[in-house]
């Protein structure tokens, strides 16, 4: 985990050199659980992310305690019982756009992409492949995706008492508004 943070910092420091990298510190990642018992939504608007448009590399860094829930008890259970955020405070994703050649970063527009990479949370790393959109806009790049995550794949155990309240598969939403780092 420490290595990813250091890598992130290094890439951040070198972003200024070539103008090929885009960053945000205000990205959004949310998840949604729907069951007949209740809907649960967690939002995080403090995601750090880097996109290298020359290689298609993407890095996301999240502080688990930054997820916000409507009810205080949901937030407490999420942090203490499921994600154990004192023990595992950060989550990361490191991946690559596999069809980079189909995105023209010099031309505004929306492009469909597939991103493969490693998602680490709760100290478990799994390879995932997700579909998403990259939108080239004036002065930046937006990226968004929706995909599913199964908590059990990350050794997140949900006790029987609340098992019916939490969906077996959670829908994850990613929305980034990257800006180029200006040369100094």
């Amino acid at each position: 985990m420490k290595r990813v943070v250091i890598l992130f910092t290094i890439s951040f420091l070198f972003l200024t050199v070539n103008g090929q990298k885009f960053i945000t510190k205000n990205g959004y990642i949310g998840f949604f659980s729907h069951t007949p018992m209740e809907d649960i939504k967690g939002d995080n608007n403090q995601v750090n992310a880097v996109l290298d448009i020359s290689t298609g590399d993407m890095v996301f860094l999240v502080l688990v305690k930054s997820f916000h829930f409507e009810k205080a008890l949901m937030e407490e259970h999420f942090n203490e019982n499921y994600m154990e955020s004192d023990k595992f405070p950060k989550s990361t994703f490191r991946g690559k756009i596999t069809n980079l050649s189909s995105v023209d970063f010099s031309k505004p527009g929306k492009y469909d992409v597939t991103v493969n990479g490693d998602l680490n949370m709760h100290d478990v790393t799994n390879k995932i492949s997700v579909k998403g959109t990259v939108e080239v806009v004036q002065g930046g790049v937006n990226a968004s995706s929706k995909f599913n995550v199964v908590p059990e794949d990350y050794k997140i155990n949900i006790p029987g008492v609340v098992r019916d309240n939490i969906a077996k598969t959670l829908e994850v939403t990613v929305n980034m508004k990257y800006a180029p780092v200006e040369s100094k």
Binding site: Y28, N45, Q46, V62, K65, K71, A72
Partner: protein, 139 residues
Amino acid sequence: MKRYVKILLGVVLFFALAGIGTALYLFNMQHKDIGKAKPDFVITAIDLQKAFEDNETAATAKYVKKILEIEGEVESVKTGEANVLNVTIKSGSDLSSVICTFVRVTDPAKFTAGSRVIVRGECSGFLMDVLMNNCVKIK
């Protein structure tokens, strides 16, 4: 029905109702009203960021999950998903700041870059910046 059976039933009923009431209360409990809460620490954004940069483990133990009242200069204001507001407060570092997320105050006009503010919120920890959540503007 014998008297003691009635008393026993009454006691059981009382505890059952109290249990249901407590469960409902906990289930629906809202977040702390940070605006009325007493801050655990009053600190400048510069000192807070420095504390995390110097020793993240010690600063995490001291400040995370605590209510902090921080004072500093607004660097930038960004609107996030569902009109959430992210206000970045300057620190002594070029690369790292204090980012405060406001869920209730969604009017970016309440913050202008360069102005000095006092913000109260819960400290979530450190990524590249110190992150604060459930923030309210004090001044």
